[in-house]
């Protein structure tokens, strides 16, 4: 009995030691695990097969982290956006034909406004992580470039595409 007891004790101690050493080995070199962006904790819950949160899947990765309150279309802002499009985007994107990248007139029928802005502002991370961006890269073979667009300019770009989208929607309505 006392022999069994001591074996049991001995075994438990060994198991405990193995657990401790494993823990020690595992934790010792894990230097880079402090991506604790607590503000996003709810959003980063993995809820779908892609491994992305629902928010990320719908809206991409980038500085836009909550739904935009868009309001009525601002034509002045849209005109600003058109200028930005000409200088920073039009070298690769046409409105109605494939060029370096996809045709863009209907972009807001393909992605959310938030995804649109996040892609413009943060193409690299989306190309690395987002299934839609990855799919586009596989199709077009040229990485969407970071054109150093700031948040304000990205918002005006969005306004420009809201105008184009509205025109599309109205045209479709009148065709029906």
């Amino acid at each position: 009995m006392s022999n069994n007891k001591s074996n049991w004790l001995k075994n438990s101690i060994y198991i405990l030691l193995i657990v401790i050493s494993t823990l020690a080995l595992v934790t010792a070199c894990g230097g880079d695990s402090n991506e604790n962006d607590t503000s996003n904790q709810n959003q980063t819950l993995k809820t779908n097969p892609s491994g992305l949160s629902d928010w990320e899947l719908e809206n991409g990765f980038g500085p836009v982290k909550k739904k935009l309150n868009l309001g009525p279309i601002d034509k002045t802002m849209a005109a600003e956006g058109e200028k930005i499009f000409e200088s920073k985007c039009a070298s690769c994107h046409k409105l109605d034909e494939r060029y370096t990248g996809p045709a863009q007139r209907n972009v807001l029928q393909r992605v959310t406004p938030e995804f649109f802005m996040n892609t413009v502002l943060n193409p690299d991370e989306n190309l690395e992580k987002h299934p839609h961006s990855k799919e586009m890269l596989a199709q077009y073979m040229t990485k969407m470039t970071n054109q150093n667009v700031n948040l304000k300019d990205a918002r005006t770009l969005l306004e420009y595409f809201r105008v184009l989208n509205e025109e599309l929607v109205n045209k479709n309505k009148s065709n029906k």
Binding site: I20, S21, A24, E86, T142, K143, V149
Partner: protein, 651 residues
């Protein structure tokens, strides 16, 4: 039982020990190799060096940029020599940077890089470097690592003693290595003593960095060699070595080594400013060029200047004094406190260290030996602060570690000698392989050296590297000075001949490093801001191609209507706004270099097609998966044909 518990306890202790070792071992992985040289210079893949090191490119005319402690090379900054890789001196925008009073000069010999200072400490705004042959000083912008300005020095026969800075970069100083007739004229060479003069120049640097030759001092016709400005208490003064006070004009190795002592010229530049303000200068008519690069226009400009203010020592008492210094002194280096001025007498058996405070007292008491052309020569005994005996043969240059020690390079005995300021005793020495010239301690000529290393800049490598025929690599050596004993850590190759070098902590520069040129700020007259503005315009036989690049096409990429005899300018604007995405351009038969256009910049290259046919052009910098597709065609028709200009992309 007890033994079993003891055993378990011991195992437990070992596990905890293993945990501790692993944990701290991984966090401080660099310390695992502490004590061994390889580990001290190992910078793990993907991590950064601690210092930037800027080495002079010597006869390559450029500046080399390295990391320390790894010795890895990052960049060659083109300065005084054309560089086809970067179109430096080939593109229309950079040609003006090479203009001098002797015309377009495609090369020079660059010796002394010098970081700009604030309060006597390197501030990382700019680095200056001299052109030794056709006297000039360049200023390199350290946000772009690009040459921003080059100014020619008038009335100079060779700009060796340059570009040394005053404490707040008020002035860059220069002194002429070779004396010449001033103004230069046709005289017999053996009329040297009668006709030849030297100059010491003060080039004012404004807040934006723009340089202007503010005034010069006409000095006796010796060879002025190197310089350093004072700091702290000696701020307001600058010191210049001279040799050939014998004024020989042939076989200098013998004839300029006769005198027991030559001179260090001590210039009171604050006094000089007063004399200039009082109008006590002569205006010399001359010609020299100032060339500068406009970052917004992406274009260099060249302006000729035609006069300079010159102070004559005889007319300006108190402006300049000579400190007798043995023997053909080369380097002149001021210690971090500003009190001591160390001179490397090439042929001297001691390192002479002058005392600034004794110098001021000697001036006050008029302890003069003699006067040369209005310049009082102070008594050696009155200015000497100390002598370092047994410093090795051929002492040249001294840098300081901020902990009370000087480090002097000795060329002939090929070693670095460490000595203590104040007691003047030699405390350590280490051989250099081989024939060390300058040496560099990070911040070692400033008020607050960062210390840690000394870099030996060697003249000869002989058997240190794999042989490459008669010409061998140039080389530097990294030596640890953190302990009592100096310790050799690393040999690494450098470009050209590394004369002087300067180092600065990486974090001072990294945070200011420019990533792109914002396209909206591009005001190049031939630049375009959007692909829709790409076009081809004929003006007589000159054709301007306004072309854009982005991954992965040129616009336009098909051009027709060019004729033999045309002069074609390709103005390439890179519309990318992403870091590290330049695009290149070259067309078959281009008589110039390629272009390598940074994001948001515009550059132009000229082409004269000699024969009719179709000429491909392409991007020379691998830019994306479809880089091989980034190409186009230009149709060249015979002279006088009536093929109209047409162009486009994707049509």
């Amino acid at each position: 039982m007890n033994r079993r518990y003891l055993k378990a306890f011991l195992i437990g202790i070992s596990v905890v020990a293993a945990f501790v070792i692993l944990h701290y071992g991984c966090q401080e992985s660099k310390d695992l190799t502490a004590g061994d040289e390889a580990g001290r210079v190992y910078v793990a893949p993907g991590t950064y060096d601690e210092f930037y090191l800027f080495t002079s490119g010597g006869f390559s005319g450029q500046i080399g940029v390295y990391g320390l402690p790894s010795g890895r090379m990052f960049r060659v900054i083109p300065v005084f020599a054309q560089d086809p890789e970067k179109a430096w001196g080939y593109s229309e925008e950079t040609k003006p940077m090479f203009m001098t009073s002797h015309g377009f000069i495609p090369w020079d010999d660059a010796h002394h890089p010098k970081l700009s200072q604030t309060d006597g400490i390197a501030d990382g705004r700019w680095i200056f470097i001299n052109a030794n042959n056709t006297p000039r000083i360049a200023r390199v912008d350290l946000t772009t690592f690009k040459t921003a300005e080059i100014i020619e020095i008038p009335n100079s026969g060779g700009n060796h003693g340059s570009p040394f800075l005053t404490e707040n970069t008020e002035y860059v100083v220069a002194s002429t290595r070779f004396s010449i007739p001033i103004p230069n004229k046709d005289v017999p060479i053996n009329s040297f003593k009668e006709n030849f003069k030297g100059t010491i120049s003060f080039i004012k640097v404004d807040k934006e960095g723009a340089m202007n030759v503010e005034f010069q001092i006409l000095v006796p016709g010796f060879n002025y060699d190197l310089a350093h400005a004072g700091k702290g208490p000696s701020h307001g003064w600058a010191f210049f070595t001279s040799y050939n006070t014998e004024q020989a004009n042939t076989l200098l190795e013998v004839n300029a080594s006769q005198n027991d002592k030559d001179f260090i010229a001590a210039v009171n530049w604050k006094k000089a400013e007063e004399y200039v303000a009082q109008g006590k200068f002569k205006t010399f008519n001359t010609s020299y060029f100032r060339n500068y690069f406009d970052e917004k226009k992406h274009m260099g400009f060249s302006e000729e200047k035609t006069s300079v203010k010159v102070l004559i020592p005889e007319e300006c008492p108190g402006l300049i004094y000579y400190l007798p210094t043995p023997k053909s002194p080369h380097g002149v280096d001021v210690d971090p406190t500003g009190e001591y001025i160390a001179a490397g007498g090439k042929l001297a058996s001691v390192i002479v260290v002058h005392s600034f405070s004794k110098m001021l007292k000697a001036i006050e008491n008029k302890e003069f030996e003699t006067t040369i052309d209005g310049i009082p020569v102070l008594k050696y005994e009155s200015v000497i602060g100390g002598e370092v005996t047994n410093p090795g043969l051929g002492p040249l240059h001294t840098e300081f570690d901020g902990n009370g020690y000087g480090y002097t390079s000795s060329f002939i005995s090929s070693e670095i000698v460490k000595w203590k300021i104040g007691t003047w005793e030699v405390v350590d020495r280490i051989p250099a392989y081989y024939s060390i010239g300058h040496l560099c301690v990070p911040g070692g000529d400033t008020r607050k050296p960062w210390g840690k290393y000394v870099i030996a800049l060697n003249k000869i490598t002989k058997d240190r590297y794999l042989p490459t025929g008669p010409e061998l690599t140039q080389s530097a050596q990294l030596i640890d000075i953190s302990g009592d004993k100096m310790k050799l850590l690393l040999d690494f190759p450098t470009i050209g001949e590394p004369h002087y070098a300067q180092a600065i902590p990486a974090d001072i520069l990294m945070k200011n490093s420019k990533k792109i040129y914002p396209i909206e700020e591009n005001s190049h007259p031939y630049g375009i801001k959007a692909e829709k503005d790409a076009r081809v315009v004929r003006e007589g036989n000159v054709v301007h191609v306004y072309m854009s690049t982005i991954r992965t096409h040129f616009a336009p990429d098909n051009i027709e209507g060019i004729k033999v005899g045309d002069v074609v300018y390709f103005h390439i604007t890179n519309l990318e706004q992403d870091w590290d995405i330049p695009h290149g351009f070259a067309v078959k038969g281009l008589q110039n270099s390629e272009l390598l256009v940074m994001p948001g910049a515009t550059e132009s290259i000229m082409w004269q097609p000699l024969k009719e046919g179709v000429y491909p052009f392409y991007c020379t910098d691998f830019c994306s998966a479809l880089h091989q597709e980034m190409s186009g065609y230009i149709r060249v028709s015979p002279k006088g044909s009536n093929v109209a200009i047409t162009y486009g992309t994707g049509k």
